[in-house]
């Protein structure tokens, strides 16, 4: 056994939105690997175990190794010269790095979007349209006696989610799971199903209809008797669920991408949030999306408190404008609008629609990623960065908007996202200021002289 072993207590796993902060990591400091991750789930163990320091250049321009400084200069020149630059990703990095990315996009008057737009973005729209009755997972642990999962499979996607919401013994839930009723609503019987006391299997794509029927029943209104034919759920089951929801002491609705990424999108999330709001006439009821990426909740928070909107924000005019569908990255790429892209900790080249990827290949891309990805391969400027939570410190937000600090295991030879982005921010600021200085005229004077910027 190696001698140079370090133990990191209370480390944080940043793999999924649960952001479990009770990890105990055993680190072989010589080999720079994590040999054991106590308390981690199967996904967390893989996240820690598969992290090695790779032997690749810290910075590359068009596939050729360069110094980090040269790459920062090139990245800043590309971004400052672009007319419609986009910033995308951000969900797998720290809030500190996200702040820098927002500042860069503001300075270069670009368009800012996060991976929220392709996962719970519709829920973001629904929060704005309907409102959100919210809570922290601590409240759920201590109070919730009715837990409903809708359109998600936490046993496989968030294996430790149950430790927050199903199994823990809390102040008013002394017997843990025995004191809770767990309802699982999904289109199929997933590996999460054994946890459920009540399993409701719904016809695919009929979530909105069932939510609407539940809303009507909660309000004491009639529902089309053919509801079973429409949704696959008998009226008696709907009535039973409504009674349980109205009569619980504290109910919670967790919803996944089975709602947000199926037909109806933001209206599905909106219907569920409206149901939670309706139920507050009878009891305390809350709703929460089960977020995927480690710090996607942080991305929403940082972008919201810096710009006023959670994602899909455009700064072309010098002030933030929010319009999902126009300023979200899939749209700016598919329409061929973007002329430069800053991609942080995300791999759109592997998972975006074909039209978007085709356009991405034609524009200069600056990528920051811990691993080599399809996006970093097509990037004009590619930075290799340290992994958040394993190599760098910082703050991440858990899915219930609770900020959690990171305790890194070992150092990386690569700079962090925050260091690279801070350097790019400083350089683009200089470039933009010098351009404005050289122009020496206000916007109005420039227009009067018909001089193109």
């Amino acid at each position: 056994m190696a001698d140079n072993i370090r133990t990191v207590k209370h480390a944080t796993c940043t793999f999924c939105g649960c952001v479990c902060d009770d990890m105990e990591l055993t680190v072989d400091m010589d080999k720079k690997v994590i040999t054991k991750a106590k308390n981690a789930c199967v996904l967390g163990r893989a996240w820690f175990a598969e992290h090695h320091i790779e032997d690749r250049p810290a910075a590359m321009i068009d596939g050729k190794e360069v110094t980090v400084e040269e790459a920062i200069e090139e990245a800043a020149q590309v971004l400052a010269g672009a007319k419609f630059p986009i910033t995308y990703g951000l969900s797998d990095t720290t809030c500190e790095a996200q702040r820098q990315a927002v500042a860069i996009t503001d300075i270069i008057r670009g368009t800012l979007d996060t991976t929220t737009s392709v996962c719970h973005g519709p829920s973001g729209l629904a929060f704005q349209g309907v409102g959100e009755s919210t809570m922290s997972l601590g409240e759920v642990k201590n109070r919730a006696d009715l837990v409903i999962y809708w359109g998600g499979n936490p046993a496989e996607s968030h294996p430790r989610h149950f430790r927050y919401a199903v199994t823990p013994k809390g102040m008013f839930i002394p017997n843990g799971k025995k004191d809770r009723t767990v309802v699982m609503i999904d289109v199929r019987k997933t590996p999460s199903a054994p946890v459920a006391d009540i399993l409701i299997q719904i016809k695919p794509g009929k979530d909105f209809e069932l939510l609407w029927a539940l809303r009507a029943k909660v309000k004491g209104k009639k529902v089309d008797p053919k509801i079973e034919e429409i949704t696959g759920v008998p009226l008696s089951t709907i009535n039973d669920l409504v009674e349980r929801m109205k009569n619980c002491r504290y109910g919670v609705l967790f919803f996944g991408m089975g709602l947000t990424m199926t037909r109806g999108r933001h209206f599905n999330s909106g219907a569920l949030l409206a149901l939670a709001t309706d139920l507050n006439e009878f009891t305390h009821f809350v709703a929460k999306p089960v977020r995927g990426h480690g710090n996607v909740t942080g991305a929403d928070n940082v972008v919201s408190w810096q710009t006023g909107y959670p994602f899909g924000v455009n700064f072309s005019r010098g002030f933030p404008r929010f319009n999902p569908g126009e300023f979200t990255t899939v749209d700016t790429l598919s329409h061929g609008d973007a002329d430069a892209a800053l991609i942080i900790a995300s791999d759109p080249a592997s998972n975006f629609p074909k039209a978007a990827i085709e356009h991405l290949k034609t524009i200069p891309v600056i990528s920051l990623d811990t691993k080599q990805t399809l996006t970093s391969k097509i990037a004009h400027v590619a930075f290799a960065t340290a992994t958040y939570g394993i190599n760098t410190t910082g703050t991440v937000y858990r899915m219930d908007d609770v900020p959690i600090p990171l305790r890194p295991a070992f150092d990386s030879p690569y700079p962090s996202d925050e260091e690279i982005l801070t350097a790019i921010r400083k350089r683009v600021h200089e470039l933009i200021l010098s351009r404005r200085g050289a122009r020496g005229a206000t916007g109005e004077a420039k227009v009067a002289s018909k001089q193109v910027l």
Binding site: K221, D224, R317
Partner: protein, 269 residues
């Protein structure tokens, strides 16, 4: 003499040209119009950088070329006529209060969002959110008329408060969602979940559609206002058969999760 603009340089990134409206260009000569500021991505440029301008502003503006990347045309206009000979980009006639916009080709998403008056006529198709509320806003159009001869996509008339939207072709899902009042007519097939969350207002469809479980069937009837309305549409070259004017319509009321005072009328063969 009217003002004629033809695009000489296609934009690399979207153009935003909300100042280019017939009412704002009244009294301007071609030089003055060439100097109007428009937004090219994050840079401010002038109309002359992209368009050749002819004529004098007298309340009639003609635009020519592929304008599919030109956004916000006719935004906030209050009078005059805007003719676009070709396709046009998003936010056409946003917040307009009067005047007329006629498009020969297709339009992008957000046609006439939150308009309060005036008329938009589109000969081709439009995309999502025709006559809708912007995100974060509860109320969509509060007046005016939007006629689209082709198809429209989702959320047509989202949050509509008043006015008329006519789609000659098919509509997508959530037609008239969260509608407060007003009228939407879809002559083709209507997508699912029409009228979800509607408080008042009328949605009319010429083909059977899947109703939400919170709507209830009332009766079959032939409302007089509809006859008048369909005859008026017939005169505007919408394809309306006589049996649709004289025939009966199923009346469904909803949405019961809201006030239940909205209606969906569906033509019965």
């Amino acid at each position: 003499m009217s003002l004629e603009l033809s695009m000489h340089t296609p934009p690399e990134v979207p153009l935003e040209a909300e100042l280019l409206t017939p009412d704002r260009t009244v009294g301007m000569d071609s030089n003055a119009v060439s100097g109007i500021a428009i937004q090219h991505g994050n840079r401010q440029v002038t109309v002359g950088d992209f368009f050749t301008v002819k004529g004098k502003g007298e309340g009639e503006l003609h635009l020519e070329g592929d304008l599919s990347r030109v956004k916000h045309l006719g935004s906030g206009m209050s009078s005059g006529s805007l003719y676009i000979h070709g396709d046009v980009g998003e936010h056409l006639g946003a917040g307009m209060s009067g005047g007329k916009i006629v498009i020969d080709g297709n339009a992008g998403s957000w046609v006439g969002p939150e308009m309060s008056g005036g008329r938009i006529i589109i000969k081709g198709d439009a995309k999502h959110l025709v006559g809708s509320a912007y995100r974060g806003s509860a109320v969509g159009i509060t007046g005016g008329e939007i006629y689209i001869h082709g198809n429209v996509k989702n959320e047509t008339g989202h949050g509509m408060r008043n006015g008329l939207i006519v789609a000659g072709g098919n509509s997508g899902d959530f037609t008239g969602v969260n509608m407060l009042a007003g009228t939407i007519i879809v002559l083709g097939e209507m997508g699912i979940r029409s009228g979800a969350g509607m408080k008042r207002g009328t949605i009319i469809s010429m083909h059977p559609t899947e109703m939400l479980p919170t709507f209830s069937y009332n009766c079959d009837f032939n409302p007089i206002f509809l006859r008048l309305m369909l005859r008026a549409l017939q005169s505007q070259n919408f394809n309306i058969e006589d049996k649709q004017i004289t025939g009966k319509y199923q009346r469904w009321s909803g949405d019961s999760v809201e006030m239940n005072r909205g209606e969906i009328l569906i033509f019965r063969e």
